[in-house]
Amino acid sequence: MKAVLFNLGYFMKEAYKTIRLNLLSNIFSFIGTVLIFFIFALVITGWNISGRLVSMLKEEAEISAYFDDYNLDEDGKAGLLKRIEETEGVLEVNLVSREEAYTRMENVLGNEAGILELFDDNPFEEYIEIRIHLDETERITDSIKNIPGIEYVRDNREILSRIEGMVKTLNMAVYLVTAAVGITTVIIISHMIRQGIYENRFQINTLQLLGASNSFINFPFLIAGFLMVLGGGILASVLIVIAINMGFGQLSGTIPFIPLPPRNELIEHVVVVIMAASAVLGLGGSIFGLSSIKEDTEH
């Protein structure tokens, strides 16, 4: 341990020399690492945004219950609202009048709202707007359908299940990209270390003959591998911060209805993930690289 502490400067110098020894090859390895981590950061960013979108949609999940509004008096409507409100999994119940339904449609249509003037009377019915837990849509819908007085229940299950399907696909992509990043980084670093050891085999052999332990000999290679991957992670983080800043500017202008997470929170999350992944993979990749060649140089 003392030998390691007293030689930290030497190890850093040796690590630098190892990187410089195959400079061109190591530059390409570094660029490869940066690109891999940048792609990883992009996927993490997309995952983060879509995750937020889904959780917001889940919070906003609504179904609409229709009843015979011509033959039901105010007490009957109040009784219906109360029974629906008491159903398990229902978060909020709201009666939407025919006028409000008309106004909402006007807002949705915007400039095209003139089309509604073609109707002589208000074509919309009074209905009950019910906010629910998305995961319980099916059970709640069935319960409300069975309440006397309810004629029809409309849910957005199809749209929501499509969104959920997209999220599942994205989750799968994240797992695959994470695995790809891990494997590729380990291979790149392992190759770099193998090359470094091959180039330094004479020096390594001399150190072994002088009594150096494997950990003493391996330490500079471990540092070199760790720094290469960590450097790649840092540069990828800088690039993703630039990309997020640019992307936010464009998205908020062109697709304003996408619920983006707070920019700084997103940047912080992505940078932490990338830096942690690069540190772990740098260390793990270097250890893997060293363990795979240990037998080759043993003397």
């Binding site: 007293f6 030497y10 001399t206 150190l207 003959l209 009594g211 150096a212 003493f216």
Partner: protein, 225 residues
């Protein structure tokens, strides 16, 4: 210090380099191992360094058994040995000082002391003025001196020098031998292989071991048998 009992060394290709070797070397002795090329001198040093393992018999160096299953302990043992290799094994692209410091890096010296000790060792071999010279700029004799400085800087209990005078002119060879033999005074055991017998004839205090065809044919001087 060194105990070799009934040792035979056969390489993987079937060549027998050492046959029925018996040798005892005590602390503070100066031992010259002589013999023609291929007589087994270097193989004997390789055994003592733990680079090769005996096919038969037993080898003990500083109390450590030399055997394949003792690899890790042999690495530790080497920290007490100052090796001077026939081909020097200096690291190119490094200065003489950096090469000498390599000899003590793994011994846990603080950086300042490491540097001072390395400079002192270079001064001892007469190369104090060459500290910052890259080793590829040094002459054959100077390289040999740097290799010796790297060995003595560790203040080892055992110095193993393989043909340290090979390819050196007469004056340089004498000077290198005098340097190595002077280390014996510090109670350090010095074992030198050489085929230049004319250079060591006057070293009366030494033990002479002659090897031929992988066998010890003569052992005399010091505590002659």
């Amino acid at each position: 210090m060194i105990g070799i009992k009934e040792v035979t060394l056969t390489y993987k290709d079937g060549t027998t380099a050492l046959k029925d070797i018996n040798l005892e070397i005590g602390t503070g002795e100066l031992v010259y191992i002589t013999g023609p090329s291929g007589s087994g001198k270097t193989s004997l040093l390789k055994l003592l360094m733990g680079i090769e393992y005996p096919t038969e018999g037993e080898v003990f160096v500083l109390g450590q058994k030399i055997a394949r299953e003792e690899k890790r302990k042999i690495r530790k043992l080497r920290r007490n040995i100052g090796p001077v290799f026939q081909d020097f094994r200096l690291i190119k692209g490094r200065t003489a000082l950096e090469n000498v410091m390599m000899g003590i890096r793994l011994l846990g010296f603080p950086p300042g002391k490491m540097r001072t000790e390395a400079i002192n060792a270079l001064e001892k071999v007469g190369l104090g003025h060459k500290c910052s010279s890259p080793v590829e700029n040094l002459s054959w004799g100077e390289s040999q001196r740097v290799a010796i400085a790297r060995a003595i800087v560790r203040k080892p209990a055992l110095i193993l020098a393989d043909e340290p005078t090979g390819n050196l002119d007469h004056d340089n060879a004498v000077s290198i031998l005098n340097l190595l033999t002077s280390l014996k005074d510090r109670n350090t055991t010095v074992l030198i292989t050489t085929h230049a017998t004319h250079l060591i004839e006057n070293h009366n205090e030494a033990v002479f071991v002659r090897m031929e065809g992988g066998r010890i044919t003569l052992e005399q001087g010091g505590r002659s048998k």
